[in-house]
């Protein structure tokens, strides 16, 4: 009883403190604001010409002035990126499961995949143009090609790292390969899969914008390269800003999906 009464005292003291600002929650906004402020001051201090580094205020001016083409091209880029990413999710999951299925397939295909991933995708775009012409299709395919690799690797890793004891317990019961995959392998690789989506979506943006820059009449990539050729540097930066916002939004969406789908993996310390 005495312990209980002792404990209430410090509790009542802490309760008297005023409500605090949640600095951790506010930090991303404050830091972003700080970056723009520092940038603005730097441009003023160094008296930068607008054709080299426009100040944030000048960029926001450009956003207001060109909002219509910005919006149209942003949506186009978002569309090609999401489509390419969607294909990468389906293809990456399928190839990842295929590669993780057996040690032989893993050993045979892994070097090929690494080699393929090492090819700079900018070198692939001209080939895609020969096959499909310029525009949306090469952008979607480039986004797909660049983003499916991390998905494949993660899914295959999840399958390949099943604890041998788990496999032994099930095999001793007469489990076939397909049973082990369905009961253990696939559920186990899901956190790896959802974790890889965050990386894949950012790469997908890199792919689609790259292709739009080189071979398209639409999209943020194309808009920025034509703005650049007209020395409209504020519009180039406005395009970058739009890309950054889309990238952050999609990343946050993937992080949210990851958390929703694989809550158990955050609680348990899954042996890797």
């Amino acid at each position: 009883m005495t312990i209980v009464t002792d404990n209430t005292k410090p509790a009542s003291i802490t309760r008297r403190e005023p409500a605090r600002i949640n600095w951790v929650k506010a930090a991303p906004w404050l830091y972003t604001l700080g970056l723009f402020l520092a940038w603005e001051l730097l441009v003023i201090a160094l008296d930068m010409p607008v054709t080299i580094l426009p100040a944030p205020s000048r960029i926001f001016e450009a956003v207001v002035q060109y909002w219509s083409p910005l919006l149209k091209n942003s949506l186009q880029t978002l569309f090609t990126t999401t489509l390419g990413f969607g294909l990468a999710v389906v293809g990456g999951l399928a190839i990842g499961l295929f590669i993780g299925w057996s040690k032989t397939i893993y050993a045979g295909l892994y070097p090929l995949m690494i080699g393929f991933n090492a090819i700079p995708k900018v070198a692939v775009v001209p080939i895609l143009v020969i096959w499909f012409g310029i525009g949306t299709i090469p952008a979607v395919i480039t986004a797909f090609l660049i983003s499916f690799f991390p998905i494949v690797v993660n899914v295959a890793t999840g399958l390949a790292t099943i604890e041998p004891e788990t496999e032994d317990v099930l095999r001793a019961l007469g489990a076939r390969k397909i049973d082990i995959m369905l009961k253990v392998g696939i559920p186990r690789s899901m956190p790896y899969f959802f974790g890889s989506l965050k990386i894949a979506i950012t790469l997908a943006f890199v792919g689609s914008v790259l292709s739009e820059t080189v071979a398209s009449n639409y999209g943020l990539g194309n808009m920025m390269s034509s703005a650049q050729s007209q020395f409209n540097v504020p519009l180039v930066f406005a395009g970058l800003l739009a890309l950054a916002i889309e990238g952050i939004a999609m990343y946050a969406l993937m992080a949210w999906i990851e958390k929703r789908m694989t809550g158990w993996a955050h609680r348990s310390t899954m042996a890797n």
Binding site: D168, A172, L173, G174, K183, P187, W264, S268
Partner: protein, 262 residues
């Protein structure tokens, strides 16, 4: 008494002709309903022995017979539990325990239609090991000792005739371990299952087993067989008796010698 497990002159080599010879000239028999313990120096082939009996490995020489059948593929009349409980973190404890029923040929087609009956059985097992009411918890919400209890339930749910335990209590603290010894003792008494327990804990072997096999250093074979004379049911108290300590000391000496010879 008929033998549930007969191993005769078994050689098992890993990794081809030049690989590690894990066990050699291994011969042992375990009677139906018996509680056998296998002790020996580390790396002597105890886990290999488990895998030979369950059909996970097929020996290059000699024969393994379980329940009158020549073992040439995994035998589903066994349940296995390892030191690592390997419960699947995305399944609740109850779903984890029901997992073998989704695999074993005899049960997998009946599971959906008779779910209630199987769940009742799982809950009965949970109660036996002292986990009543924990079925809906996830494994990561359980302590190490509780996870190992659930692991035992999973090994027993398909009513195996043979339970193979590979150092199941090695990672637990002394008090939890003694609690689980009593759980295993009572399961053996209640279910009439034959148990083969691999352990490096000699007191564990002496407390639980009817018969203790001492293995040599690698390549492993059986050096000696001890019949454990203590009457059942046994109480943790017996560990303070001189006969008990004499047996443990003798086992200790034999294993120390086996290590030196190697």
């Amino acid at each position: 008494m008929s033998h549930l497990v007969s191993i005769d002159d078994v050689d098992m080599r890993y990794g081809g002709a030049e690989g590690t010879l894990a066990v050699s000239q291994l011969t042992m028999r375990v009677a139906k309903g018996e509680f056998a313990a296998v002790v020996g120096p580390s790396g002597c082939g105890k886990s290999t022995l488990m895998k030979l009996v369950t059909g996970l490995h097929i020996p290059q020489a000699g024969t393994v017979i379980v329940a009158g059948q020549h073992v040439t593929k995994p035998v589903s009349i066994v349940g296995m539990a390892f030191q690592n409980p390997t419960l699947l973190p995305w399944r609740t404890t109850l779903e984890n325990i029901l997992l073998p029923l989704e695999i074993v040929e005899k049960h997998r087609h009946r599971l959906r239609a008779n779910k209630k009956e199987y769940v009742a059985k799982a809950e009965h097992l949970l109660e036996l090991v002292g986990l009543k009411g924990f079925g809906s918890k996830f494994p990561w919400q359980l302590s190490g000792g509780m996870q190992q209890r659930a692991n035992l339930c999973r090994a027993l749910i398909h009513e195996p005739e043979l339970l193979m335990l590979d150092e199941p209590f090695g990672a637990l603290d002394a008090f939890t371990r003694e609690e689980l010894w009593c759980v295993i003792r009572d399961l053996h008494a209640a279910q009439g299952v034959t148990i083969v327990l691999v352990t490096h804990d000699l007191r564990e072997a002496a407390f639980l087993a009817d018969k203790i096999f001492v293995m040599s250093a690698r390549p492993g074979r059986i050096l000696r067989e001890h019949l454990v004379p203590f009457a059942r049911p046994r109480d943790l108290e017996i560990m303070y008796h001189t006969e008990f300590n004499d047996l443990v000391q003798q086992l200790h000496g034999e294993i120390a010698q086996a290590r030196v010879v190697a």
